[in-house]
């Protein structure tokens, strides 16, 4: 026998990326999870940003729902397939759901999003019609949801939901109902321990198959439970990205310890992403705490009645972050203080789109309270226009003003009374240049901050230089800048957020630090921010 040794290549060092300091790094349970440390690629479908979060209170119930891409989808640059939602109904009930789009079926993100959306709509309608009796009609509700998901013809999802009374019954308890199809489990957190409520037993311990919606045999896969929360207890619904972790003692302890009491939204978002080697699935969690002492604290949960038909639901917070072909970017949008106090939906919008080597960010926010729907309409019209305009060379002078003008024209066709002056809007197009530099074309209206930051300082672009173009459309003005960003500079677009909070960070804020900046902002207006650098 000849003994042969194969000498093997040394793996490349890991990229330094994301949150790397302070209270923003997700915890790790067990050995280093290398996939969780790898750089994220952009979300391919801008309607499904990397991380979404709902949070707020109704009555004595505090609810948070967060869905985040797992390490696999982030590394591959594929879409999040989990969805989570938390809303309130008629001021008396908290509703929450998580759904896990089945990965082996195409477009399953559409199914999970639709599942949590129609649950919130249908359940709140049933509650509005028949009050607490709606909680006894769970199988009928799931039948309705099943039919709605059948119309998607293909995509499948799990769905786990809960409804909790916002006010105590005569015995000081909070009645709840929870139900599920598939392997997204539900737990009760009580006195520092988690207890399984709806747990999917896997028939084949070496397999992963799960029941899903739509399902022709829903009666056999539907599970429900009714109970009561004592003050201080919580209901926790999670996708199997967390549920599979919960099979081990370490993670059980982790979630029981961290979610026994209401965490900050930042901590919940960070803990959802707890790292564990090999657990790279999407993560989602919806947690409902019965905490009477929280009653008067803002923000308020969004009413489900405010949801519009169709499309992904606008969450209270959305966050994207990516490193791609010489560019690094963060984008976030969140409710401001007024929306949080009133419990209304966020009106600011941000989306990141990839066109070949270029990244385009579109962000809008209403600058006047009467422009409730205008920012959304503007954002959608911008995107349609940009999608239809060949982006052959956006650094030609004509691209930005032409997209802008054309978008304005279709806006006035859609709504003759559209007031473009009521919205702060921007389109940013970036492309990597050599040596870590970035070429950008930025067009923006009045009302937002466009600045360049470096070495802890920031200056408004308008103070630094003259724009390449300045258009006055009467009802609003447009400035266009085309320039190159140096490797140590940040291009910052913000509305309702002080750019100094990002400019003064010690290093590039990672995704969670970006959310922290947004979350600390206490201004009235709904916010957005976009930050761009050259990739290191």
């Amino acid at each position: 026998m000849t003994d042969r040794r194969l000498d093997l290549a040394t793996p490349a060092p890991r990229a330094a990326w994301g949150d790397r300091e302070g209270p923003w790094i997700p915890d790790t349970i067990g050995r280093t999870a290398r996939a969780a440390e790898a750089a994220w690629k952009p979300d391919p479908d801008p309607r499904f940003p990397d991380t979404v979060l709902d949070h707020g209170t109704v009555g004595d119930i505090t609810a948070m729902a967060c869905a985040a891409r797992g390490a696999k989808h982030r590394f591959e640059g594929t879409s999040r397939e989990d969805a989570a939602i938390a809303v309130e109904a008629v001021g008396s009930w908290a509703l929450a759901a998580v759904a896990d789009g089945v990965g082996s079926v195409h477009d399953s993100r559409l199914a999970s999003e639709e599942a949590v959306r129609v649950f919130a709509r249908y359940m709140s309608r049933r509650i509005a019609d028949s009050g607490e009796r709606a909680l006894t009609q769970g199988s009928g509700l799931f039948g309705e949801i099943n039919r709605a998901l059948g119309k998607l013809t293909g995509p499948k999802t799990t769905l786990t939901v809960a409804v909790v009374a916002a006010h105590p019954d005569g015995t000081g308890r909070y009645p709840f109902w929870a139900a599920s199809v598939g392997d997204s489990p539900a737990y009760l957190i009580s006195e520092g321990e988690t207890h399984g409520l709806l747990i999917a037993e896997r028939e084949d311990e070496f397999g992963t198959a799960t029941a899903a919606l739509p399902n022709h045999d829903i009666a056999n896969v539907f599970k429900q439970i009714r109970g009561e929360l004592l003050p201080g207890e919580a209901l926790m619904l999670v996708s199997d990205g967390i549920g599979d972790l919960m099979a081990s003692e370490g993670p059980q302890r982790y979630f029981a310890d961290n979610w026994g009491l209401v965490p900050s939204p930042l901590d919940l978002m960070r803990q959802v992403q707890v790292r564990s080697r090999g657990f790279d699935d999407d993560r989602s969690a919806a947690v409902l705490w019965a905490v009477p002492e929280n009653a008067d604290k803002a923000p308020s949960l969004r009413p489900s009645a405010a949801m519009k038909p169709g499309g992904p639901v606008v969450r209270d917070v959305e966050l994207s972050a990516a490193q791609t072909r010489g560019l690094e970017v963060r984008a976030a949008a969140a409710r401001g203080a007024v929306a949080a106090a009133e419990g209304r939906a966020r009106r600011s919008r941000v989306s990141l789109l990839e066109y070949g080597d270029r990244l385009v960010a579109i962000a809008t926010a209403p600058v006047r309270p009467d422009a409730a729907e205008a920012a959304d309409l503007w954002a959608r019209t911008f995107k349609e226009t940009a999608d239809n305009r060949p982006l052959l060379d956006p650094f030609e002078d004509w691209w930005a003003p032409r997209v802008w003008t054309q978008a304005l024209r279709s806006l006035s066709e859609k709504d003759p009374n559209f007031d473009s002056g009521a919205v702060a809007a921007t389109i940013l197009c970036v492309e990597p240049a050599s040596d870590g530099m970035v070429d950008y074309t930025l067009s923006h209206s009045a009302g937002l901050s466009a600045s360049i930051a470096g070495a802890g300082l920031h200056r408004e672009l308008a103070e630094l230089r003259s724009p390449e173009h300045h258009h006055d459309y009467g009802e609003h003005e447009l400035w266009i800048y085309s320039d190159r960003l140096a490797e140590d500079q940040t291009l910052l677009l913000t509305y309702g957020i002080d750019p100094a909070c990002i400019a003064e960070a010690d290093s590039r804020p990672g995704p969670l630090q970006t959310f922290d900046v947004v979350d600390r902002e206490t201004g009235d207006d709904d916010q957005f921010m976009v930050a761009v650098w050259g990739a290191r």
Binding site: M1, L6, A9, D100, V102, E205, G207, T208, G278, F279
Partner: protein
């Protein structure tokens, strides 16, 4: 606590492999590089190699490939004892699964890539039946590759998931290289599709130089 998909290569090291063993070792080297550069795959797959001739031996214990800097390559030896290979594979899987579980891992059904270029000259049915015993929970999915003088029916019998035989459309060395490429693809794609699906194992249907043997209809 980790989730782990174990892959085993069970490889014929009989004398008839002499001319092709280098191509196979090259393929293993490339496999190592491919897995090491993908953190998603590296985090949740483990890889082990069993070589067999007159007897069978573990050439690489089930390992995290991104932590392996050196491994024992394949080398030609004596005869063709499938039974010894199957027996050792079952023992190894039992030991590995027990150890992984003891470490708190969730273990997915193991995958074994079996490669042979000749007729077995020992009895093997008993050990094979034990390997695919449906009452044994950790029984592997087997992908069988036949090569050279191998009997097609034998290879078709051994593969429980898919079976391929070399069709001489390319050189034996190139075909073995393709074998290693198919193995790499299977590890990478299965390693990134471990969740949610009813079928976790992703083995290409077409491997250049090989023809897939269709399972006979019952």
């Amino acid at each position: 606590m980790e989730q782990v998909l174990p892959f085993y290569v069970v490889c014929d090291e009989s004398y008839s492999m002499l001319d092709n063993i280098d191509a196979l070792n090259d393929g293993l080297r490339e496999l190592h590089t491919a897995v090491g550069s993908d953190p998603v795959v590296a985090d949740k797959t483990r890889f082990g190699v069993i070589g067999f001739s007159d007897d069978a031996e573990i050439l690489l214990e089930l390992s995290d490939l991104s932590e392996v800097t050196q491994m024992q390559g394949l080398a030609v030896k004596g005869g063709t004892n499938y039974g010894a290979a199957f027996k050792l594979l079952r023992q190894t899987i039992d030991g590995d699964v027990a150890k992984l579980k003891q470490d708190g891992c969730r273990v997915y059904r193991p995958v074994a890539f079996f490669l042979s270029d000749g007729q077995p000259n020992y009895d093997w049915k008993t050990d094979y039946d034990a390997l695919i015993d449906p009452t044994w929970k950790a029984r592997p999915n087997i992908v069988a590759f036949g090569f050279g003088d191998v009997d097609h029916a034998t290879i078709a019998d051994i593969g429980t998931f898919k079976s391929f035989v070399a069709d001489n459309s390319i050189s034996p060395g190139a075909a073995l290289h393709e074998f290693a490429g198919a193995l790499t693809k299977s590890i990478v794609q299965s390693g990134t599709n471990m969740k949610d699906g009813e079928v976790n194992l992703q083995v290409p249907d077409e491997v250049p130089g090989f023809t897939q043997l269709k399972a006979e209809e019952l």
